[in-house]
């Protein structure tokens, strides 16, 4: 991932007040994930399945933390169940920051279906989201998404397109 993008994400998380992060490694996100793991401002809880992360973040929110999930589009597919039975049913907020695999410009064949399914799925799961493709918009987008998650008691997501996540070979 581009260095400026990592900094913009970490700054956004801090300025949004995020202090608890759960994640599953992703090849396009490991730079960011390593950066937050190394930062003492965040309590980081890696999980073995994104749906576990939704449960962990819900518990953390109930205990007064401000949680975020750094997960992939695949993770959204794997987490339709907790998003429905936990976040949607109980109105529990969580911020998601997601590398938008399958957005235009993605050159890996198996990411195409991710791009096709991600936004319809987020809409169906009542996740308010924004798609960001400029690095300078990353930090304010994360802050805004967290503000609304807190006020609405709903999950929100910031999708980061290839312009932000891909580093050209």
């Amino acid at each position: 991932m581009k260095q400026g993008s990592v900094e913009a994400i970490v700054t956004g998380l801090k300025e949004a007040g995020i202090n608890f992060i759960s994640m599953l490694p992703d090849s396009d996100f490991t730079d960011t994930q390593k950066a937050v793991m190394a930062d003492k401002d965040f309590k980081c809880v890696p999980v073995s399945n994104e749906s576990i992360g939704f449960g962990v973040c819900a518990g953390a929110w109930l205990g007064g933390k401000k949680p975020a999930l750094l997960i992939t589009t695949d993770g959204i597919m794997a987490s339709a169940f907790p998003l429905t039975t936990l976040n949607m049913q109980k109105n529990i907020p969580v911020l998601m920051v997601i590398p938008y695999r399958g957005s235009l410009g993605d050159g890996i064949w198996f990411m195409g279906p991710m791009g096709a399914a991600t936004e319809p799925l987020l809409k169906d799961l009542q996740v308010a989201y924004t798609v960001i493709s400029k690095v300078e918009e990353v930090t304010p987008a994360i802050k805004n998404a967290q503000l609304s998650a807190e006020a609405w008691l709903r999950p929100t997501a910031v999708l980061l397109t290839g312009e932000i996540i891909f580093e050209e070979a």
Binding site: F20, V47, I52, G55, L62, G64, A151
Partner: protein, 198 residues
Amino acid sequence: MDKKLDQNVLVVTPTGKTYQYWEATGREAQISQLNLGLCTPAGLGLALALPHRKVVALDGDGNLLFNLASVADLAVQNPGNLIDIVFDNECYQSCDSFPSVTSKGVNLEVIAKGCGIKNAVTIRDITRFEQTLDEALNGNELFFIVAKVEPGEEIVPLPRQEGRENKYRFVRHVENTENIRIINPYSRRRKKDFTPST
């Protein structure tokens, strides 16, 4: 069991009969009706958020098995303030007692020990259950207690609280006892929302 727990102990319960029994205790500090695979993870997050508070998760075999990898994540985090109790009736009781894999020899204690949880035990009698619970409540180590129980078809009252009401009660309890603010319905104020000081 409720009598053993101080009112400050935070209790996490899954959907099904366990919660229906626990609602009858009137305990404010219980977050309930966590659906499949989400009870232990929610207990883990809560324990990590409030490391000075004791947290008791009352999971079930079917619920835990849905996200069995959460046992591994629990072991790695190893919160010393969490007691994870799995009431293992070896079936999905609310689904006509359809057998779960623990009825076929899958051993949750062995799985937990294999993940690295030192205090993983299986208990089959009430006296030892009480002793182990006392030990866990008085200590500062993670406990994973598999409580083997008989499937019961006892009729208990349906819950009166739906999930959002239960969440608000729990959150207000945490806010009041921790002197913190969790729910923030006006997270961004406009300038004009402020009353002029004059």
